[in-house]
């Protein structure tokens, strides 16, 4: 067992974990952070994407012990004071989700994408989200949502 100390959605946790425990299982099964789902076992689908120290990570590709000392944000910690993040709002406004299973990862990846590229082209959005699979939407409304979130953020900062 290994000791870790992580902050998840603003709460700090001290835990003993098996060295092989995946971060996503730590989040879901130890901390009850079940908002982050698991969609595959080969790191293809991206449903489990979270932010580790502000950068998007597929939490099935990381061991809990590797997250020691980090700040993690999950989909559950993205809205602040009841206010949806602009990307969450844009997903709702543009019908960018159907079953919603890929949505947490898709939103977390989109937030990261916009941090790196605040005004992406549609093609950049499509390539930027290549690591996140959705089976319901055909992606068109997801691309639209990310584009709209970028435009709204640009308006706010302008």
């Amino acid at each position: 067992m290994a000791r870790i100390e992580v902050t998840v959605d603003g709460v700090s946790y001290h835990d003993e974990v098996e060295p092989r425990l995946l971060l996503v299982h730590y989040l879901r099964e130890r901390l009850g952070k079940v908002g982050t789902p698991i969609g595959c076992d080969t790191s293809n689908c991206g449903a489990c994407t979270v932010h580790v120290d502000g950068v998007s990570v597929k939490s099935c590709t990381m061991l809990a012990v590797q997250a020691d000392g980090t700040q993690i944000t999950t989909i559950e910690g993205l809205a602040q004071n009841g206010q949806l993040h602009p990307v969450q709002q844009a997903f709702h406004d543009n019908h960018a989700l159907q079953c919603g299973f890929c949505t947490p990862g898709m939103i977390m990846a989109s937030v990261d994408l916009l941090q790196h590229n605040p005004s992406p082209s549609d093609e950049e959005i499509r390539h930027g989200l290549e690591g996140n699979l959705c089976r319901c939407t055909g992606y068109q409304n997801i691309v639209r949502a990310v584009r709209q979130a970028a435009e709204k953020s640009a308006e706010v900062t302008a």
């Binding site: 092989r20 099964e29 079940v34 698991i38 993205l78 949505t103 699979l133 319901c136 055909g138 409304n141």
Partner: protein
């Protein structure tokens, strides 16, 4: 941030989507692109997936699966697993005995169908890779997975058979005791095909065959399957949580399979992350979990890993389609003959045998013809069972007919749109009874096609195609066409009965008027992404004249929504949504009696509009439906003899299927040097009748297109000769990402259905059904002038390149040779020597 949809927000949304404005009454909700009520929880991670469930004393289950396709099981020994840390129990089939029962197949399509037993845990033999052999139960999922490695199974290998034509030789038998791999032969004859063929030959027409291959697909809903069974503390009672599309059907089937009285099982489908047919089933793990929880008296959870699901969750498609068309020289279809071989896989799951049979009614599509012959042969192979995957039999049929229509156009030198026009049912001919015996209630193929051609720029693209051909451009352009229809809204119960389906096709709804004036809609449909909470709220709000936000919708739990037939086959709106409307109308009828009593008027003089009852000729005498609801709750002053309720139930058995249609056009660029096809333009004009929520409809179309395009370009479940699933993970099986799909242009024409009061048709599968032939047709069209006649799906760059360069046999074929890769030589016969 608010979820409330106030009048201002509705006005703003209407402004964004002007198509919603033409409602006669500004308070109407139907037809508006209202944003979904479902979203708030889903975008903030407050979800209820089955795998999220934690219960005191919860055990975790892991399945030991066969690593070989076909073998005799000499011995299963779980004893070493019991010594592993955290292991609570481990069982083989023998340990659990008869308690497991056999998995149900509810669709015996013929009286003499071969129906082998399908044990949840294999007993004497395994018959596909991934078949469950033993189960380990432990304190956590890691311990359970670890311990599966300690289970010893002695497999004595038997030969595998993956190819249907090989299987039909009955040299390698999947079920030796049955003596054959042929599951059934299902025939249909409309008219006299031989006579139609003879007429074509005698009159100088054309008769030719094609073979199209429907590759095997993996549905890959984003949420893996998962089940939790909780034994209740008293008696033999259980709550089963499952990632299923069919909680009601599952409850009945679990009761029958496990011998537990139905009233002692409650099934809950919590949030379900997509299904596409793959969760329209009764799976081994659901039965095993129930039996294990029953035996150990503790709750248990099982969640498949993605790779496990690729082997243990049903697959889709997998057909060999031999199709022959007989037509006159000017392109009028005289007859169509279809010889289908459909891969069942190793066992029959819930509706496996019926899926290709559904296609029987769709090969003739929108076209008039004198004769139609259909033969479907079900075939066992040592592969994962097939079953319903988005479209379920209709995409396969639509693919074949739309491809051969374009091939007929090539043969006759007629524009493929013009050829279709000469054969399709004209809008003034509806209702029209087809050669397959269905009566299409409505449609307007002319209008949808005209709109699609306009959006697509058909003539311009044809000109560009010719220019590229003329200059021998390395990048060639192809145009693919799909003027599809489909049958959905399953289904009139009598028709299902005539097809030997094991259940009816009705759907139930209840409306509960609460004393506070709010409304609960209880529906028997079970959404898993389709937005029923929003759409059913729109339907109920309009029928009752109450605010959209005052309506809640209850579903997915056999206790709170006890009557239902669930969600599949694009049935939810056209059966379940219409049932909501009918139940609401009954509420209004009951409420009118109370209103008349309160207003001291004759019932016949009481009018209802916008939620208010008023008396003809007395403008001040009025009361709202909410006031009536409260008055009924109080029951102090009701008409004599009236039950104190205005709640109402409706169960709708639809009078007909729903026949959405549309015209999809696809332009594909093919780099002839690399073989790479790229979609340049995709136009989808769908006619699904009246629309409840255009936002949701557009999303359904987009998602459907993505899956149909994925079949055309990317996806294929590949087995090797020993029947190992080569594409066993998401690394190997290409579910397309955003980068792999184009921007779609979508539009609609609206020809209302005449067989339901809302005028609606199903939309869930239309995009998938329509798009595959449009895309493959475009790929072939781009290189047809180079002598390419056929390219097998998925039309990968390698297959396209090989087809162009006439090298190798993997999927391409050239007209000059008259052969295609899969199976033997094909003859292209042109009768009458008129060429």
């Amino acid at each position: 941030m608010t979820e409330e949809l106030d009048a201002g927000l509705i006005a703003e949304q209407v402004e964004e989507h002007p198509e919603a404005i033409d409602q006669p009454d500004a308070t109407r909700h139907i037809g508006r692109p209202l944003k979904r009520k479902e979203d708030r929880r889903l975008i903030t991670g407050r979800t209820r997936w089955t795998d999220n469930i934690q219960l005191p004393g919860l055990m975790h289950m892991a399945i030991v699966r066969s690593p070989v396709a076909h073998a005799r099981i000499n011995r299963v020994d779980v004893s070493a697993a019991l010594d592993r840390p955290g292991v609570i129990a481990a069982f083989s089939a023998a340990d659990l005995g008869d308690a497991l029962g056999t998995l149900p197949c509810a669709w015996p399509v013929t009286a003499d169908m071969v129906h082998p037993d399908h044990h949840p845990l294999a007993t004497d033999e395994v018959r596909h890779v991934g078949e469950a052999v033993a189960v380990v139960v432990a304190t956590d999922r890691y311990a359970a997975a670890d311990a599966t490695e300690a289970v010893e199974v002695d497999y004595e290998p038997l030969p595998a058979v993956t190819d249907m034509e090989e299987a039909l030789k009955d040299e390698v038998l999947v079920h030796a005791d049955k003596g054959t791999n042929k599951t059934y032969l299902w025939p249909f004859d409309g008219g006299d095909y031989d006579a139609a063929r003879a007429q074509a030959e005698a009159e100088g027409g054309i008769v030719f065959k094609r073979r199209y291959i429907q590759q095997r697909l993996i549905p890959a809903a984003m949420e893996p399957r998962s089940v939790v069974v909780e034994p209740l503390t008293e008696g033999d009672e259980y709550t089963v949580y499952s990632a299923t599309q069919i909680p009601h059907i599952l409850r009945l089937m679990l009761a029958l399979t496990c011998g537990i009285p139905e009233q002692q099982i409650r099934v809950i489908a919590p949030d379900v992350g997509g299904g596409f047919g793959s969760k329209l089933n009764v799976y081994a793990e659901e039965v095993i979990a129930l039996v294990v929880a029953r035996k150990l008296g503790r709750p248990v959870k099982w969640t498949e890993s993605r790779s496990e699901g690729f082997q243990a969750t049903i697959h889709g498609r997998d057909q060999i389609q031999d199709i022959e068309v007989a037509a006159t020289r000017d392109g009028r279809i005289l007859g169509l003959s279809v010889d289908l071989k459909a891969d069942m896989g190793a066992y029959l799951q819930l509706v496996t045998p019926g899926i290709p049979v559904l296609g029987a009614f769709m090969f003739n599509a929108i076209y008039k013809m004198d004769a139609y012959r259909f033969r479907c042969t079900g075939v066992f192979t040592t592969k994962t069972p097939t079953d319903a995957y988005r479209g379920a039999g209709r995409p396969e049929a639509t693919y074949a007919i739309e491809r051969i229509m374009s091939d007929l156009a090539y043969e006759l030198g007629i524009d493929p749109i013009e050829l279709r026009r000469r054969n399709w049912i004209k809008h003034e001919e509806f209702p029209y009874t087809t050669i397959a015996g269905l009566t299409y209630d409505s449609g307007n193929y002319e209008a949808a096609t005209a709109r699609a051609l306009e959006l697509f720029g058909y003539d311009e693209l044809r000109r560009e195609q010719q220019e590229r051909r003329d200059r021998n451009d390395p990048v060639q352009l192809g145009i693919g066409i799909s003027t599809f229809t489909e049958m959905c809204g399953l289904a009139p119960s009598r028709v299902l009965g005539s097809l030997s389906y094991g259940a009816g096709g009705w759907e139930a709804a209840s409306i509960r008027m609460l004393p506070s004036g709010k409304v609960e809609v209880v529906t028997g449909t079970t959404p898993h992404g389709q937005g029923h909470l929003t759409a059913w709220s729109q339907i109920a709000a309009d029928a009752l004249g109450v605010p959209f936000e005052d309506v809640n919708v209850i579903f997915g739990d056999t206790q709170s929504s006890p009557v239902g037939m669930d969600t599949y086959g694009s049935r939810s709106l056209v059966v379940g949504g219409v049932a909501v409307h009918l139940a609401a109308r009954k509420v209004v009828d009951k409420a009118r009696k109370v209103a008349a009593h309160l207003l001291e008027a004759a019932e016949g003089d009481v009018e209802f509009s916008g939620g208010t009852f008023s008396v003809k000729g007395s403008p001040d005498a009025k009361t709202t439906i909410q006031e009536v609801s409260l008055a009924t709750f109080a029951a102090h002053n009701l008409p004599d003899g009236m039950e104190p309720t205005i709640n109402a139930d409706a169960v709708l058995d639809p009078e007909n299927f729903s026949f959405p249609h549309g015209t999809h056009l696809c332009a594909v660029e093919v780099d002839t040097e690399t073989g790479r096809p790229t979609i340049r333009t995709y136009v989808a004009v769908d006619d699904i009748g009246n629309v409840i929520n255009p936002l949701i409809v557009e999303g359904q179309v987009h998602g459907g297109l993505a899956q149909g395009i994925a079949q055309a370009l990317y996806e294929e479940a590949v087995y090797d000769a020993d029947a190992n699933l080569v594409t066993g993970t998401m690394v190997d099986y290409l579910v397309p990402s955003a980068a792999d799909l184009p921007e779609f242009t979508t539009d609609r024409t609206e020809t209302p259905s005449t067989t339901n009061p809302l005028g609606v048709k199903g939309v869930g599968e239309a995009g998938t059904i329509a798009s595959t032939p449009a895309v493959v047709g475009a790929v072939v069209d781009a290189v047809h002038h180079l002598g390419v006649q056929e390219i097998r799906m998925p039309t990968t760059p390698e297959r396209v390149w090989r087809a162009i360069n006439n090298s190798g046999s993997d999927g391409g074929s050239r007209a000059a040779e008259g052969t295609i890769a899969y199976g033997g030589p094909q003859t292209s016969t042109t009768a009458g020597g008129a060429e």
